[in-house]
Symmetry: C2
Subunit: 160 residues, 2 copies
C-alpha cells in the first residue's frame, strides 16, 4: 500500500496552528501526522517509534489514541475545506478543528514495527461540528476503532 | 497539593511489564506515569513537557488521553490488588491490565506548564474487567473527563 500522503491538510495550516505534538509540521519533537483524502475516505499513515510500546511487541494505546485524535481533527478540516470548495495543496488556509471527544475501542493488540493506516469516514453533524469514524489497520487487520467529535477551534484557544 | 505518589502500582509491575511508553518505569523515553491511592480515589500527577502542545499555551489532547489511559489501567491494578489483600509497596507483583476502551471528553482547554492531577473512581464490573471514571484537573479546574474499561491482560499480549 502507498504510505505517503501527497497533499496533507496539515501542510496548509497557518504557522500559528502548526505546533501540535501530534500533527504540527513545526513541532520538531512531535509525531508529524499527515492526513489526506483517499477517495471519499481520509487517510493518515504512521509507524510508531520503538519506544511507543505497551507490552513489548505491541503499540502503546495512547499513541493509537493520538493517531485517532489528530486524524479526526485533520479529517474534519479536510471535509470543511472541501465543502468550502478547496483541496489541500492549493495553499489556502483551511479551518482548524479541535477535539471535543475521543473514543477508542482496542479490538486486538497492535503489532510494533508495522506502518499503521488510519482510515476515516467523515459526517457533518453541524457546520462547526463533525463526527469522524476511524479504523486503525496494521498488516491489513483492524486493531482499533475510534470516533472523534471535532469542532471548529473556539476563541478560548486563540493566543494570537 | 501534594504532587508525589509514595507507593505507585507501576513500581511493583514485573520488569517484563514495565516498558509501557505511558507508565513503564523502564522506558527511558516514556512519560513514567505513577498511580497510587488517595483515600478511595486513585491519583496520577503529570506535568506535560513543553513540546506536548496542541495550540501554543494548551496541552495536546493525545497526552491527556495517554494520562487517562495509563491512569485507568493503573487504577484497575490498584483495585484488584487491594481486593486480593495487597497494597503497592509490599513488593508483591500486582495484576497487569490493558485498555479495552478509552473515552475522553475535553471540557475546556488544558493550560500548559501546570501539573495535571488525574483522579479516578474505580468500579468492578467483572472480576477481570473494571471501569474507571477519571477527571483531569489543572489549577483545580476540571479540563477533561475520561472513562476507561480495563481488562486483565489477555494471553494475546504475552511475549514471555
Amino acid at each position: 500500500m502507498s504510505e505517503k500522503i501527497i497533499h496533507a491538510i496539515q501542510d496548509d495550516y497557518s504557522d500559528d496552528y502548526s505546533w501540535c505534538y501530534g500533527c504540527g509540521r513545526l513541532n520538531k519533537d512531535g509525531l508529524k501526522l499527515r492526513t489526506g483524502w483517499e477517495g471519499e475516505n481520509t487517510i493518515t499513515y504512521y509507524t510508531p517509534k520503538p519506544e511507543h510500546t505497551a507490552i513489548p511487541g505491541f503499540v502503546y494505546g495512547g499513541i493509537i489514541g493520538s493517531l485517532i485524535d489528530c486524524h479526526g481533527t485533520g479529517s474534519a478540516a479536510l471535509a470543511l475545506h472541501r465543502k468550502n470548495g478547496h483541496e489541500p495543496g492549493e495553499g489556502l488556509e483551511p479551518p482548524r478543528f479541535v477535539t471535543a471527544s475521543l473514543h477508542v475501542d482496542y479490538i486486538k493488540p497492535t503489532p510494533q514495527e508495522v506502518p499503521l493506516k488510519a482510515i476515516g469516514t467523515v459526517e457533518e453533524i453541524h457546520p462547526k461540528k463533525w463526527k469522524i469514524q476511524i479504523e486503525v489497520h496494521a498488516d491489513n487487520h483492524c486493531t482499533a476503532k475510534g470516533e472523534v467529535i471535532a469542532v471548529v477551534m473556539p476563541k478560548t484557544f486563540d493566543n494570537k
